[in-house]
Each structure stands twice: as structure tokens, then as C-alpha cells.
Symmetry: C2
Subunit: 235 residues, 2 copies
DNA sequence: CTGACTTAGTGTATTTTTTACACTTCTACA
DNA sequence: TGTAGAAGTGTAAAAAATACACTAAGTCAG
């Protein structure tokens, strides 16, 4: 345990390292944001990067991603979806590294990320105002954004970005942000309510010098049931 | 090179193996088929499995997949798309193995696959009549089928499965096979022709005791141009 | 207390898209 | 030459998507 610092694991053939990286999207200040950490160590020390790191041997890929995320940003209990696997030869100066990328949507407001472990800082950046990223993380992020835009059209994933109780205007605004275009209020409401995946609550939004809006909640069970029946959610 | 058979590559931390596996779909005898190889070696010697194997260090993931495919089945020059990465702990009895799965569509008729290398045989199996598969390959195949069914709805991928020149009836039949339901002939033609991604040829189908059908060709350039304009292909 | 301000909330008419549906055409072969 | 068999074609009805403008409910300032 003292001087045995190298050559502890030997194999007949060379092996690549496997890492996981997470693209976390959040919504705050009326902007779509992504969570980045500032790297504490080389390579790319001081540079911004996606949270992530090496997998452990007795952990599934997703578990690795969740662990790294918690270690570096303090965030936990997040639903991750696998995005893509990046394995080009030159992508990591330390040697051949395969990175399995995950992405997730969270309520940025609820998650005050703080840097820890291999990260000296963690911060939410607007997706249209990003710093230069380490490794090929710009490419990974780009891939995630494309996926998000495609996905939001036919899956009700947007709900993950909002507080559990939200107004229809908030929901519409979210869709407009992700899709990058305005939607008609009446048509949006008609459509989304017609899907019966929203549960109308008996509460209204507090505060503000205007008519208070009704609050709704996403009805996941109802949604899952509809999906099973072959329902096609599409905005 | 003679007795140095172990411990040639050493690392400070344990590393997982990385493999690639390919799900190749083909069309023949009016059935959707998938290409399997019979494993020549342990583990699972004699069992059917997806073609695939370990990556090399100086090869991209896709290049590895193409190489393995050629080694084991003789097929080459195929457009592969990354499907998903499978990395659960118990999936390979040899130890922790991460498999990056790819999938592709080819004209089964044109590709007389023959077993070679680590495969003692290669054969096309109808997707609804599969043998028991090695590793977690049944899961991978299932994932590929789901993806294919989802994808065929909004991308004109089916064309890869047909000969370069094909009739509208063949195309319709293909869609029916993949989607698993019948389509109306007139509506199908109206829709597909309305997309202007098919080029009508001056040839007709030969042979057969019936009215010969016009031949068409997929117009990839036209399709790519439409996609750039934000065109949404959907059957 | 009331009027001004701000966002919430609502319905209908038009256009477009999707669906359902049946007969004629063309060729090979008996 | 006529019969078998797939190819090929149009229209009407239903459903979905779109465009569009006013009233309602609350806060706050005066």
C-alpha cells in the first residue's frame, strides 16, 4: 500500500480507460443552462468541463455517472439518460479513453451546485454563452443539445426542468426556450391539456401584481399508461 | 513474442475491456432478418451471437466495429450508426466489459455472409425466430429493433434495405414489415411521392406474369437538402 | 376605493393533413 | 384471346393544426 504505486493491474492486451460524463440541463433566470465544473487537476486544470470521471469496476455505467456527479457537484437522485459514447483516439491526452455520456434535466434553482473533489468549482452556464471546454466536451454538449431539441418534441421531458407545481405559462415558456420559437398560447394549452397528462391543482401561483395562474402537476402515471397504449406525445 | 504471454500491459487502476457489437438488419424472403455468428471460442462457444469483438487501441469505435464485422462475416463498407452502450457488471463472464453496440441496415441478398475468424458460421435469422443468444445480446438486439421501429417513422432509412432500384410496392412492403401493420397503397404512394425524395426511373421491373412496376431510386441529395431546410420525414 | 396595469384564461372559423375506399391498366401465360 | 395478378389512380369525409382578439382576476398607486 506504500510504494506499490504502479503496475498493479496487468493485462495481456492494452486496455482503454472508460469514463462517464454528464450533461445536466437546468432552467433559471429564463434561460436554458448547463452545469459545468472547473477542473482541479491536469490535464486541462482550471478549464471548464462536464462533470464526470473514471468508472469503478463494480458499478454500472449509470451508477458511475451518478457517483461522479455527486462527488463533483453535490447533486444526487437524478434521472440520467444515456446520450452517446465518444471514443475517438485523440480525445484525451492521457491516452485512449472511451467516454459514455449521459444527460439529464433538473431544476437548476433547486440545485445549488458546489465544486468538490476533482472540481474546484461548479456553475450553471447559459447554453448560448459557454466558456471554452476541456477535451471534446464541446462536441458532447452539442450532441446533448441536439438530442434535447429533438426529444422535447415527442416526449414530455420538459417537466423535469420545472418545479413540481407549475403554471401553463411557465411550461409554454420552457418549450419556447428549448425550441427557440414562439408558440400560440391557446393552441399550446389546448394541445397540452388535451393529452390529459397534467393534473390541475386547487392552488394558484402566489405573488405578483396580476391575475394569479392555476398550478398544475405532471401526471407521470397517466403518461406512462398512455405511452403503453402507443400514445404519441408531440408538441 | 514466445513466452511473454501475460502481464504485458500494466496500469495503476483496474480497467474494463471495451468491445463493439453490431446489429445488422437485412431483408430477404419477405422477412426482416438479423445477422448472427456462431461463436468459435469460449465463452459461449457454439452459441449464436452478434458479430463483434475487442477494440484496438489506434482505432475509432466505429472502425473497430467495421473491422470486426469484416473479420467475422466478410461484410464491408457498411454505414453503421451507434446504438447504445451496454456496461452492466455481470454481462461478460471474462470480467467487466463495456460493449458499444452499432446497428446498420443492408441488403441481405447482396451480402452472403460467411463465418470466419472467431466465428464458425454467419447466418441471417428472421427477427421473430431467433436462437438463444450469448451474453446480453438478446437485450442488445431488442434495443436495436425498438430503435429501428422508431426511426423508420421519421427517417427514410428503409431504403438501405432495398436494392438501389426498387418498386413502390417493395418499399411499402418493407415499411409494413418493419412497422408490423398494413398500409393503404394509395395513401402510401401519395405520401412518399409527395416528399420528392424518390426519383422515377425509365425502367420497369422485369419478369413476373403481371403488369410490370416502375422502378424508383432514392434521391439522397434531395433528401439531404430537405433535411437541412428542417424537413420532417414521417410515415 | 377605484382605475390602471399585468398576466391568465378562453372559442371559433379556416386550412391542412389524414384517412377510407374501388375500379381500371398492363403484362405474361395458358 | 382471355384470364390471372399485381400496378396504378382520385375523391370525399374526418381529424388535426393553425390563426386570431377579447375578457377575467388580481395587485398596486394615487
Amino acid at each position: 500500500m506504500s510504494k506499490e504505486t504502479k503496475a498493479k493491474y496487468s493485462y495481456d492486451f492494452p486496455r482503454a480507460s472508460v469514463t462517464v460524463d454528464c450533461v445536466l440541463f437546468g432552467l433559471s433566470e429564463d434561460k436554458l443552462k448547463v452545469l459545468l465544473i472547473q477542473r482541479a487537476h491536469d490535464p486541462f486544470a482550471g478549464k471548464w468541463a462536464l462533470p464526470g470521471g473514471f468508472i469503478e469496476m463494480e458499478e454500472s455505467l449509470e451508477a458511475s455517472a451518478l457517483r461522479e456527479l455527486e462527488e463533483e457537484t453535490g447533486l444526487s437522485k437524478i434521472y440520467l439518460e444515456q446520450l452517446y459514447t465518444f471514443g475517438d483516439c485523440g480525445r484525451d491526452p492521457r491516452g485512449r479513453t472511451i467516454s459514455v455520456a449521459y444527460f439529464a434535466l433538473v431544476q437548476a434553482a433547486e440545485h445549488h451546485a458546489k465544486g468538490a473533489d476533482d472540481a474546484s468549482a461548479a456553475e450553471w452556464f447559459p447554453v448560448d454563452k459557454l466558456p471554452k471546454l476541456a477535451f471534446d466536451h464541446a462536441k458532447i454538449l452539442d450532441c446533448a443539445l441536439t438530442r434535447l431539441r429533438a426529444k422535447v418534441r415527442y416526449q414530455p421531458i420538459g417537466f423535469e426542468l420545472l418545479p413540481r407545481k407549475f403554471t401553463l405559462s411557465q411550461l409554454q415558456r420552457l418549450y419556447e426556450l428549448i425550441l427557440g420559437r414562439e408558440l400560440d398560447k391557446r393552441n399550446f394549452r389546448k394541445k397540452i391539456l388535451g393529452m390529459s397528462v397534467l393534473e390541475e391543482l386547487d392552488e394558484v401561483e402566489a405573488g405578483g401584481a396580476r391575475r394569479p395562474a392555476k398550478l398544475y402537476r405532471f401526471h407521470r402515471k397517466q403518461y406512462d399508461a398512455l405511452v403503453k397504449q402507443g400514445f404519441h406525445f408531440e408538441i
